[in-house]
Subunit: 321 residues, 2 copies
Amino acid sequence: MGGVTTLQQDLVRLDDIRDAAARVSGLVVRTPLLPCPWADDLWLKPESLQPIGAFKLRGATNALHRLDLERRSAGVITHSSGNHGQALAYAGRALGIPVTVVMPDVSTPLKIEATRGYGAEVILVPQSQREIVAGQLVAERGLTLIPPYDHPDIIAGQGTVGLEIFEDLSSVDVVLVPVGGGGLSSGVATAVKSLAPRVAVIGVEPAVAADAAESLAAGVVRTLPEARMLSTVADGLRTPLSELTLAHLSAYLDAIITVTEEEILDAVKTLARKARLIAEPSGAVTTAAVLHHRDALPAGRTVAVVSGGNLDPKLAATLFA
Amino acid sequence: MGGVTTLQQDLVRLDDIRDAAARVSGLVVRTPLLPCPWADDLWLKPESLQPIGAFKLRGATNALHRLDLERRSAGVITHSSGNHGQALAYAGRALGIPVTVVMPDVSTPLKIEATRGYGAEVILVPQSQREIVAGQLVAERGLTLIPPYDHPDIIAGQGTVGLEIFEDLSSVDVVLVPVGGGGLSSGVATAVKSLAPRVAVIGVEPAVAADAAESLAAGVVRTLPEARMLSTVADGLRTPLSELTLAHLSAYLDAIITVTEEEILDAVKTLARKARLIAEPSGAVTTAAVLHHRDALPAGRTVAVVSGGNLDPKLAATLFA
């Protein structure tokens, strides 16, 4: 994907991802590849089976592991209220590092309880104040901010998904990965293309919120109006790329495929019925691409990363009714 | 559990299970242990993630692998219409062995299609004629009958679940395993107790169909009235033990815990909501034991085998309702 004009940056390298794999070993689940008798040449990489229900645990664990003793004892903070906040809380508890999560005061009680349940201090503030409050706490308490995707340690941690795919199926031809902020897709693309340039690594995002496709085409980070981003059911993919993730995707991603909202929900159902996995919409976009856009994909042995399983219970009730 | 008066038999040994593990490697999914933040010291062994949705693939693959070339080319047959029939069909296709499954003509179209979909020849007969027709086909066509659990090769194959548990968590204290016909529980108990006699291996079955508990207490295979067996939602656990599986369980199982129908359904829901796994009731009995009978279990690091995920779609609709 030519035409990229972003500032040249130091990209994460395969060795960084290998180092991350050694660090997270034993702290994250080594997920298997699941063959799918219901689709030709398809394997699933079910990151929904991580204890917090998403791949985010890999990056958070790697980033915390990289901190020196002083920063560890001071503690860390994030203003991401979704899977990254829970991942950081869980990883912090495992490593004995205090974690603070600044969440909007409109968060669901379920999310707040889950984050507290993993041992984090949760601070509720108005939506617009999240970053400001987090910044204040960084200054006042000497906390280290751990961003959800815009950091080399996070990208390297998520990249371990790509290493494992190749370890388990070195004859893989196509890897499909969801694209939100770009942490997972950057890491996976870097790992897979570094190991085997012949493998096609293809990002998948919702058609109604295809900011990554636009950004890659333009060569600069493009954001879409909030109303459009909010219109996708795939709430984990409403985030724009960063300069850093755009640089990785520009270097390593072969293409982006977009899927409709109907296709995403159909994939959530199919994963439950046929693969016996509870997936969240953001995690199901890759399966949606296989089910509904196989003609647009390269042929061959295909791995779809199912990035998470934190399905909203209300949505689940309608899907399985 | 003393008082066993069954004929002494040659029990499956740890080496048989190790040999089985080498045979099934690459043909079955190496399932991970999943830590559960929602329950203390609990890990799940999700056999629901096997491509046919149940552990049965392990035993079927091992049994087929053991056949000589002549028997392989003649083909195999079973009159089990559930997960074993599908497992045999799937394993037969992978190994190039023709598979015939004799099913009752009242089977659901879903089950018939699934079995045919894996490449097996399905023969529909009245329920009462299943064994007779299978026997005729063995005689006429020279097919080899592969029973669902009453065979050392099946028990050794299922026992690979126990090997893997110990490989991944050698500090395990308690292993919980569902007891139906006893193939899985015999194999797992043999593997785990041979590797580490200190580990408690505990079988779990529905209280309304607790024939294994009665059989172990009596020292002979006891069957319950069909109406009682049919009254459990855990349809995979309606089968009586055989002499062979009773002998293994008598030798290796520490205890049996029973769970109620309500507890089983609650565990199916919990697995969907908190572990993001679709489990069938038979696969959820071990989680039910943890959720509702922890006081009756030995303390410590506990692994619950989730044996299968072929959940009836009507029951699935109630999961998030």
